[in-house]
């Protein structure tokens, strides 16, 4: 009996290995997803308060600090909200001037994480409560307010599975601030690693990385913040450099995510990185500087950082436009346009 069952298991493994996720096994997975997705969804709704409670016990110490931080953010945001109408008008005018209204605007389908993989911590996947019925397909980019979360794997009818960016099978092409390319890979609980492609390219701690964008924007759309470099090797000449990367997304508390159903028309480049990387064309530069000097309220509009620093950076290489862009934008009803840029999570990078 035991031998029979073990042989069956081996046969299944072999067949699934050959099928590469297609065929009968893919269908079985999708069916299971369709049937058990709703069950898991219901269970997740029931246990969410309990889960949050347990998670809260583990973070009592840090909660006090968090409350203070949030209160400070609230007052900063309230101040911003009062300026909002004025800023919106400014933004509209700037948009018309710059013709770049598509920068950083992903069309997203919001979804809730309802379950996380059950494989002894070897496999980093999550179930979300949206599926084929909502127009999702495999290999779509998944992100949240902080950055890249992963990509769609199996899609059931009303739930689907996301391969998280820290899964050891996950690789994504990224772009450095210098414009050079690299590949970031997940390693579970260990930090992500970065491998540069060009032997002459160099990276340093604190550099922010955004997705390079795949062909046809599948599986990765361009310009999604991935993480910041925490350390980099000093390679011998002729060797490619590597480094470790701290993802912007906190994978221990995934909750609301967005699936990119329509990529931005133009490459947002580094516009969505937290300290905006200056990458604006020369013509845009001139216009932006001019407007900023005319309207002093403008630069404080969407970044939580003190307006003084924003101003100084914009006078050097003005990037007023990418900072403002994603917050104020017309939102079509069923999908949302995220405000990825002003997310105030403090990223601890090595350099001050």
């Amino acid at each position: 009996m035991l031998v029979l069952l073990l042989l069956t298991a081996f046969t299944l493994i072999t067949l699934d290995y050959r099928a590469q996720g297609g065929g009968v096994f893919g269908a079985a997975r999708r069916t299971a997803s369709s049937i058990f997705g709703p069950v898991e969804r219901l269970a997740a709704d029931v246990v969410r308060p309990v889960r949050h409670g347990i998670q809260a016990v583990g973070s009592i110490g840090s909660n006090h600090k968090k409350v203070n931080d949030l209160q400070r953010q609230i007052s900063a945001l309230q101040q911003q909200a009062r300026q909002q109408p004025f800023d919106a008008q400014r933004v509209k005018e700037l948009d018309q001037l710059l013709h770049v209204s598509a920068v950083g605007q992903y069309k997203l389908l919001p979804a809730q994480v309802i379950a996380v993989s059950a494989t002894d911590g070897f496999e980093w996947t999550a179930t979300i409560d949206a599926g084929a019925k909502d127009g999702l397909k495999p290999n779509m980019t998944v992100l949240n307010g902080d950055g890249l979360v992963g990509r769609m794997k199996t899609v059931g009818s009303s739930t689907s599975t996301v391969l998280l960016a820290i899964d050891p099978q996950f690789n994504v092409g990224v772009r450095l601030p210098s414009g050079q390319m690299g590949v970031v890979s997940g390693h579970g609980r260990a930090p992500m690693t970065l491998l540069l492609l060009d032997p002459v390219a160099r990276v340093k701690a604190g550099d922010g990385l955004v997705t390079q964008g795949s062909q046809n924007q599948t599986p990765f759309v361009w310009g999604v913040p991935v993480g910041s470099v925490t350390s980099a090797t000093v390679p011998l000449s002729g060797d490619v450099q590597s480094g470790s990367v701290k993802p912007y997304v906190d994978f221990s508390s995934l909750d609301l995510v967005g699936v990119v159903v329509e990529p931005p028309r133009t490459d947002p480049r580094g516009a969505l990185l937290q300290p905006p990387v200056p990458t604006v064309t020369a013509t845009a530069t001139a216009t932006a500087t001019a407007t900023v000097t005319v309207a002093p309220t403008f630069s404080a509009s969407s970044s939580v950082s003190p307006s003084g620093t924003a101003r100084t950076s914009s006078s050097r290489t003005p990037t007023a436009k990418p900072t403002v862009k994603p917050t104020v934008s017309p939102t079509p009803k069923p999908t949302i346009t995220p405000s990825t840029s002003p997310s105030p999570t403090p990223t601890t990078s090595g350099s001050p």
Binding site: M1, L2, L5, L6, T8, A9, F10, T11, L12, I13, L15, D16, Y17, F25, A28, R29, A32, S33, F36, G37, V39, E40, A43, A44, V47, V50, R51, I54, Q55, V113, I114, A115, V116, S117, A118, T119, D120, G121, F122, E123, T125, A126, T127, K153, T154, G156, T159, S160, T161, V162, L163, D167, P168, Q169, G188, F251, S252, S253, L254
Partner: protein
């Protein structure tokens, strides 16, 4: 015929364990490795059913864990692991009848076997996710969590499984 209600009970328990694992324990993101409720249920059932019943239960429980979302490994992998774990725990079912300590030892052994075998299969199938290092690092955590959780799960499941049978024979 007498086996039917017990089979239903087993199916319900196994599916419940899968869902609770995916929805409650894994999102907690405890350090090291998540506890594996399904393994505890399989071990408890094997302690009641014996080696053959344990192997069959383990096989189908593992198959469920392979297929249910958000699983993303080759189908059959947990089926094999849990089948063997169920069989091994089932071998102890006479000895563990009255000894709580032995039942806990059986659970710890099952956790170790499951983690090691899953890791070894990863090596055989050249799965980039599972290296010797990750297995060694997560092994003590899986055992510790499972043993800690066992007193709350195993006696309860065992008494449920024991009670399921006499009800039918009386009918």
């Amino acid at each position: 015929m007498a086996e039917i209600p017990r089979a239903v009970l087993i199916v319900v328990l196994v599916l419940m364990a899968c869902v609770v694992d995916a929805v409650v324990f894994d999102p907690l993101n405890l350090p090291g490795a998540p506890p594996n409720l399904l393994l505890l249920v399989v071990a408890a059932l094997a302690l009641v059913l014996g080696p053959v019943g344990g192997a069959v239960t383990g096989f189908f429980a593992g198959l469920a864990a392979d297929v249910l979302p958000p699983a993303d490994h080759l189908i059959g992998r947990y089926a094999l692991v849990f089948c063997l774990a169920g069989y091994l725990v089932g071998l102890l079912h006479y000895e563990a009848r009255d000894s709580v300590v032995l039942a806990l030892v059986a659970v710890a052994a099952a956790a170790a076997v499951a983690t090691l075998l899953y890791g070894a299969l990863g090596g055989v199938l050249s799965d980039g996710r599972v290296g010797a290092q990750t297995v060694v690092r997560s092994l003590p955590f899986s055992i510790a969590y499972d043993v800690l959780l066992a007193p709350f799960v195993v006696p309860w499941v065992m008494s449920l499984a024991r009670r399921a049978e006499p009800k039918v024979t009386r009918k």
